[in-house]
């Protein structure tokens, strides 16, 4: 039985494009352009995953409201924000509400589908009593389970978004090697926009590590190229 993907997007053209792409990947998309309609429908029949835009017609923060209500009704529901709002404050607000990821448009449809697939994989892994041994990376104090999307630093769990998780995973897979900006974007399933986008993700990741360990300095900038995970 195909997974149901709820899509809420006020632009009908985009909505249909996303729905077509999802359908092509074997999912069953359910699309709405208005928050109230979506809330009513999803409350009765929750989708397996929701992709929400933030601005919905006249409701500037309609997506946030919708996310809050949906997660209140269905706490385990994975939500991805897909929006053209790039401000930090929006991203932080969205992630605080409990979204798995916050993606800014334009996103490649393939990447979107991959993200969705990754989330389903992770959820599935998490539902298994024991994770598989493959996909587990350990380097120094870092332990990372790619399947379950869990990260621990010195034993303490770290809460990363899907994008951040994939960047850390890409970096620590080969400690010491430089990961270029482009490859980091690929790993994060993001279209290349600018170095600055990667920089912003790295800053968030460093901040989260630093919150656990103020002396954290494993992620090093290789200026003009990209980043690398420092070898121990």
């Amino acid at each position: 039985m195909p997974k149901i993907i709820g899509i809420v997007e006020d632009d009908t053209d985009q909505l249909e494009n996303y729905a077509d792409a999802m359908r092509r990947k074997g999912y069953e998309p359910v699309g709405y352009t208005r928050a109230d309609q979506a809330l009513e429908a999803f409350t009765k029949n929750p989708p397996d995953l929701a992709v929400l835009d933030i601005s919905l017609g006249a409701e500037v923060d309609g997506g946030f409201e919708l996310c809050r209500s949906l997660l209140a009704a269905h706490p385990g529901l994975p939500v991805i924000f897909l929006t053209d709002r790039v401000d930090e404050i929006d991203k932080i607000s969205g992630l605080r509400l409990g979204a798995w990821d916050y993606e800014t448009k334009p996103i490649s449809l393939n990447f979107l589908a991959e993200k969705v697939a990754a989330i389903f994989r992770i959820m599935e892994s998490r539902s298994q009593p024991h994770g598989k041994a493959e996909g587990i990376i350990k380097t120094g104090d870092l332990a990372l389970d790619e399947n379950r999307m869990t990260v621990t630093w010195k034993g303490a769990p770290l809460d990363l978004t899907l994008t951040e998780f994939r960047i850390v995973a890409a970096l620590c897979r080969r400690p010491g090697d430089v990961k270029s900006y482009e490859s980091l974007m690929d790993s994060a399933i993001q279209t290349v926009v600018a170095h600055n986008t990667v920089n912003t993700h790295i800053r968030h990741i460093r901040k989260k590590f630093a919150a656990l360990d103020p002396g954290f300095d494993k992620i090093q900038n290789e200026y003009a190229l990209g980043y690398r995970w420092a070898e121990d």
Binding site: Q14, N17, A21, S108, N110, A194, N199, N221, A224
Partner: protein, 672 residues
């Protein structure tokens, strides 16, 4: 030279200085006018006085002439107003100077031996009266004064005067008065017919010998001359005391009597009374007779020098006035009118003297008042102007300062309006309000421009997203080779559009986002070293170099912003450097700052662009052949990053014209 409003206004007040000048000119005019007025009125007064004197004077003159008292040769007795000290000094005689009579060569009565020496023997005589005594002042010129010695029996062997009192031949008493060395005069009376001499005690006098001769002061009772009104006086000069011979004798000669002088009381009571009754303020009036003797006067001015001239003019018989200087600053008007006799000849002259002090003091007073007035007006107006102009300057200064601060270096309006002179109703207030209005319009325009990229991005993003996802979906269909080619080119176009929009949005927000960032100490040298090394690895067709002369270069900043800055500089350099061209970064330390010189081989930047190439949407370099989008946003962002770090950026062409240097200055982190 540039003059401010205040300086100009103060210069204008100097125009007030013309007031005293004008006042001086007009007071001079006024003085001239007053002088003319004084001259003519004085002349008229003199003529009137002369006319009114005519009858009485003629009578008086006639009476005296008839009584034989008065001839033209008669000498007047000066009426003294104070007693004389018998001390042989002539000082208290000054008021009587007009009554002096001189006897010189023409009065030589006798001489023996060599020729007459004009320096010797001549004398001056003044006769004056005080109460019931007649006083004589006799100043004799004598180079060799021989006083009488003790034991001499013949007083004639010393220099002496011969005096005769009373009418000749009618009981006249004759005296010899020798010069004495002790100053006391003795009056030796000759017995009638010559012979014995006896000392007369009723007469008294003193003598004083001086370098020019000797001066005798003699007092005698008025009764001695009252009957005859004559006096006989002869000065006999003795130069050889052994021989005791009289060398010369000087004295008047009248009516065949040697030494005889007719005396007359000069006062004509009627004329004097008339002058007194005139009570002329500040006017001195004198009446002279035709023999130039003063007959009546008000005041007793010693200085009668001016009268001589007036009297000389009198010869013409016409009224006359003249101005005579009486001192360095003094002047007087002398007006003379003849007293006509019945025969048409002149009987005498009336002279009125008045100093021009009145006109002078009026001029001085007027000048003083004007000067004070002008000075006070000048001070008041200057003070007013200083206050006014200071305030005006201050207001304009403040307005200018505020207007300048209203727009920052990048030309952004920082305020809604100006505070300076906002409420005032004058022109500056108008100016302030009009500038405020302009600023408001400018600001709303700027605000519009500032949000334009974001609005644009927001508005364009949606359709762009639609196109992007649609293209992707299209690509997922089987389109054939031609179809997918077009889809790819459409995709590139969309990507390019998006880059433009993103760049615009980034530029619009870069300053604000740098402001919000937290800076940490970073090593600029290390970043540069790695950056240039990595870039050299990526761009192998350029010679990318780094030279560090600063050592460790700690700055307070954001490493990825510095990297972004270097990206912009590198992008720019890559765009203009041909294959195998050099791109070089040099880092130096200077005065607590670091200078990063980012050089690239390439065409020079046109001069017109150098000044504004860091402003947004300015991209103007020939030789840019790349297909990349160029909105001039890169350098704008670069400048924002530099300024966000407390530094700055500028660009210049190298002197050889073969390359371009971007100069980035960033402040060093302070230790501690």
């Amino acid at each position: 030279m540039r003059l401010g409003i205040r300086a100009r206004l103060i210069l204008l007040t100097l125009a007030f200085l013309v007031i005293p000048v004008l006042a001086y000119i007009s007071s001079q005019e006024m003085k001239r006018f007053m002088l003319r007025h004084q001259q003519s009125s004085q002349l008229i007064a003199a003529q009137a006085l002369a006319a009114s004197l005519h009858g009485q004077y003629a009578q008086f003159q006639m009476r005296q002439e008839k009584s034989g008292e008065l001839t033209d040769a008669a000498m007047f007795i000066h009426r003294a107003t104070s007693p004389f000290r018998m001390d042989g000094l002539a000082d208290e005689w000054a008021p009587a100077a007009s009554a002096v009579r001189e006897f010189g060569r023409e009065s030589l009565l006798m001489e023996s031996g060599g020729g007459f020496d004009p320096a010797t023997g001549g004398f001056k005589l003044i006769v004056a009266r005080w109460e019931d005594h007649i006083y004589l002042l006799v100043s004799v010129q004598d180079e060799t004064v021989i006083p009488i010695s003790r034991g001499w029996t013949d007083p004639g062997k010393a220099d002496h005067l011969r005096l005769g009192l009373g009418a000749p031949g009618e009981g006249e008493r004759k005296y010899i008065v020798p010069v004495s060395s002790d100053g006391e005069l003795s009056f030796l009376e000759e017995a009638p017919g010559g012979g014995r001499v006896e000392r007369n005690e009723t007469l008294a006098g003193r003598v004083k010998i001086n370098s020019r001769g000797y001066v005798m002061e003699i007092a005698l009772p008025e009764s001695q001359i009252a009957g005859s009104m004559t006096l006989r006086i002869i000065a006999e000069d003795v130069d050889d005391q052994r021989r005791g011979r009289v060398k010369s004798a000087i004295g008047p000669m009248e009516d065949g009597a040697p030494g005889l002088i007719h005396l007359a009381y000069f006062q004509s009571p009627e004329i004097q009374g008339m002058l007194d009754s005139l009570d002329l303020a500040e006017v001195e009036a004198r009446v002279f007779d035709r023999a130039r003797r003063l007959r009546a006067s008000t005041g007793f001015a010693a200085d009668v020098s001016g009268e001589g001239e007036a009297l000389r003019i009198l010869a013409s018989g016409a009224p006359y006035y003249t101005n005579i200087e009486t001192g360095p600053n003094g002047e007087k008007v002398v007006a003379a009118a003849p007293i006509k006799g019945s025969d048409g000849g002149s009987l005498g002259v009336v002279i009125l003297e008045r100093s021009t002090r009145g006109a002078d003091s009026m001029q001085d007073k007027a000048m003083e008042n004007t000067l004070w007035g002008a000075f006070l007006a000048f001070v008041a107006v200057a003070a007013g102007l200083v206050i006014f102009s200071t305030r005006l300057s201050w207001r304009i200064h403040r307005l200018r300062g505020e207007a300048e601060r209203a727009i920052d270096q990048e030309g952004r309006v920082r305020v809604d309006g100006l505070e300076a002179s906002r409420e005032s109703g004058d022109e500056i207030g108008d100016l302030s309000r009009s500038i405020s209005g302009l600023l408001k319009k400018l600001r709303s325009h700027h605000d519009f421009l500032a949000i334009l990229p974001r609005t644009l991005k927001h508005e364009i993003n949606n359709p762009l997203n639609t196109i992007t996802v649609s293209l992707e979906n299209l690509a997922a269909q089987e389109m054939g080779q031609a179809g997918s080619k077009y889809i790819q080119s459409a995709g590139r176009g969309v990507a390019r559009l998006r880059e433009i929009v993103d760049n615009l949005a980034e530029a619009a927000s870069v300053e604000d986002s740098i402001q919000e960032e937290k800076f940490e100490p970073v090593d600029l040298a290390l970043i540069l070293e790695r950056y240039m090394e990595n870039s050299a690895g990526v761009y192998k067709d350029r010679r990318i170099q780094f030279s560090n002369r600063a050592g460790k270069a700690a700055i307070l900043g954001s490493d990825y912003r510095i990297e972004q800055l270097l990206d912009k500089l590198m992008d720019n350099a890559l765009d203009f450097t041909f294959r195998d061209g050099t791109i070089e970064a040099r880092l130096e330390r200077m005065n607590g700052r670091f200078l990063l010189t980012f050089y690239n081989d390439g065409p020079p930047i046109p001069e017109r662009t150098l000044g504004n190439m860091f402003d947004s949407l300015v991209a103007d370099r020939e030789g840019d052949k790349s297909a990349r989008t160029h909105l001039g946003i890169g350098l704008y962002v670069a400048r924002a990053i530099c300024q966000g770090h407390g530094g700055g950026i500028s660009a210049r062409n190298t002197s050889d014209g073969k390359g371009v240097e971007f100069l980035v200055i960033l402040p060093a982190a302070r230790h501690g």
